[in-house]
Symmetry: C2
Subunit: 351 residues, 2 copies
DNA sequence: TTGTATGCGTTATCAC
DNA sequence: GTGATAACGCATACAA
């Protein structure tokens, strides 16, 4: 009851197992890595000693000797937007199949801090990096010595997996047109044209032009403040109603949050959805299902995005440095989920 | 252009710096760990060589030599429920202050898989574990050789940080009473009484009894299916309306999702909120703010939960094995956020 | 089938 | 101030 207590905690290593069994450390190592070359008796002996001494393997030592950590770094802006948390959920799910362990950092809005995080990740010998944050230009990632794949962000110099936003917008416009909307509106945040999500606007414009549909694009520098967004969208409601008093209106929003707020505004003003107004959101986030009228939306296929990201990384990790020459931009098609803010969908019971 | 290409990728180590500067590896190490004992000229020389050769530190080797990984493992059931993703967001934010790196696994509903994940984490020498999943009993965690802290789950044999759910329920009941509700209802999932969230029910029952308020508790085995939940809650609406036709009703839900669905049901049936029905949710999740009528809710203080979790872990990590004897259950008080489904709050403009 | 010797990249001990 | 040398825990040629 004096001091030896501290040593009780000491890790048991191959040396201990070696002493306990009378076999060499090499043989212990073989037990794990090449069990075929072991005599059955010795395998038994080792097996017993391992559980007797409660051996706990040390993969870090293994890494130092072998080289591959099976670590992948993730930098994600935050976990407040559903897109990010859902994507991470799918990424982490790949462990069972691919075996990669994930070390995650928050990018927030600080490029300098993010570079520190990346350095920390590199010092832990990550084998690849998944980048969702927007703080740093892709040229920086291209200069790193490890495979990187970006998701739905600027990707000029680096591999990426993105949603086919253009197609998503096309789906939306075509549905609104089929449902006899006479004027179409698109609402989007003020974002750089290098970000894939910008294609939602481009796709809207292109498809409207192609189909000769009267339309307006409303770009605004939204922030994350709910009440401010509400005000902005309510103003939009007033102006569009005044400008196009009799025509059936179709709205395509860049996300479900804005769509939901606009829906609430319409309901409060006793407008008829989907008879006079049709609404389509983007992301298939929970609010689109939980809205007072379930919102038709364009769903990004998270599982495909995540799986392609890991596949792309693994290909580079396994393939070695020579494969790092050609860029690969994988495009995943979205799916339209028709709910009750557009007409052609069946109404949910209870409405 | 033959084969040396492969070697270009080779990591530069202290040995390389040593050769380049003519100094010993020990001195290079000192440059990082005890710069005071270095001559200024040599420090300069090393500094130059480091950037010349683009040295990238290897913390894994450092870990093997020193012992502390600064890794903390996290097991979280999923990233679909906002509670989890928001909590993780706050946990990851502690990096700047505490320096811990986080390796995250998904618990889902599989106890066996989760034990494999924990083993994997242990093999990477994590120094602590944050447990949010419900699959494994706390006795198992107590038997691990590292500090563990659980969040809002069964915690009999292990340290934990939980919300004061009892107080949250009390806040809700008291507000509903102040606003002259005549019958109170509490809706909760069928959960074990060992889970902290169970106290929301207990707190409701206790406070109602204490204040002699007529009340009913509705426990149901909800699943995550939206339409099914809708049906169940719509039935609840019908039965309570029939049973208490003239009395003002107050509903306290175990989460905002149910509160929002019930709100939508009330609106669809042209009921008056908050004149005839008052609603209070739990969690302050986005839907509570984005609902057609913003929902009054009990907010768990995520920042405090996360900070206490890390503090508790660090205390044990730094304190050593002797501190592992006494259990610590930290309780964080929630905050009530009054919005428009209860009467006393100011109405949002536009309504 | 098993053991010896050496290395992975860093830190710690002890000399000089 | 600086440098040999031995650790950390495991893997791998090579030898036997």
């Amino acid at each position: 009851m004096k001091s030896r207590v501290v040593n009780e905690d000491k890790k048991v290593t191959f040396t201990d197992i070696s002493k306990a069994t009378g076999l060499s450390k090499t043989t212990i190592s073989r037990y794990f890595n090449n069990p075929d070359y072991l005599s059955k008796e010795n395998a038994e002996t080792i097996s017993h000693a391992l559980s007797e001494l409660k051996y706990q393997e040390n993969k870090l030592a293994k890494v130092l000797a072998k080289g591959n950590t099976e670590f992948i770094g993730i930098i994600v802006p935050n976990f407040f937007h559903q897109f990010y948390s859902f994507f991470i959920d799918h990424i982490l799910s790949t462990y069972d199949q691919y075996g990669y362990k994930f070390i995650t950092f928050l990018g927030r809005d600080n490029a300098e801090a993010e570079k520190r995080y990346i350095n920390e990740l590199l010092s832990y010998q990550i084998e690849g990096l998944i980048e969702l944050s927007h703080n740093i230009h892709s040229s920086y990632f291209a200069s790193l010595s490890i495979p990187v794949v970006t998701i739905e962000r600027e990707d000029q110099f680096i591999n990426s997996v993105n949603t086919n936003n253009l197609l998503g917008a096309k789906y939306a416009v075509e549905l609104l047109e089929r449902n006899n909307c006479e004027v179409l509106f698109h609402i989007n945040n003020k974002i750089s044209s290098h970000i894939p999500a910008y294609a939602r606007t481009q796709g809207f414009i292109d498809t409207c032009q192609e189909k000769q549909i009267e339309s307006e694009v409303f770009i605004h520098a939204f922030n994350d403040n709910y009440n401010e967004t509400y005000q902005v969208l309510e103003n939009l409601y007033f102006t569009t109603k005044k400008k196009y008093p009799k025509q059936k209106k179709g709205f395509f929003f860049c996300n479900d949050t804005y769509a939901n707020i606009f829906l609430n505004i319409l309901i409060m003003h006793h407008e008829n959805v989907p008879d006079d107004y049709e609404l389509i959101g983007f992301d298939n986030s929970p609010v689109s299902q939980q809205a007072i009228i379930p919102i038709t939306t364009i769903s990004q296929n998270m599982d495909k995005l995540a799986e392609n990201a890991i596949m792309l990384l693994e290909k580079q990790i396994k393939g070695g440095p020579t494969d790092g020459q050609t860029l690969e931009h994988i495009i995943v098609n979205p799916t339209m989920i028709e709910r009750s803010t557009t007409r052609s969908a069946p109404q949910r019971s209870g409405h």
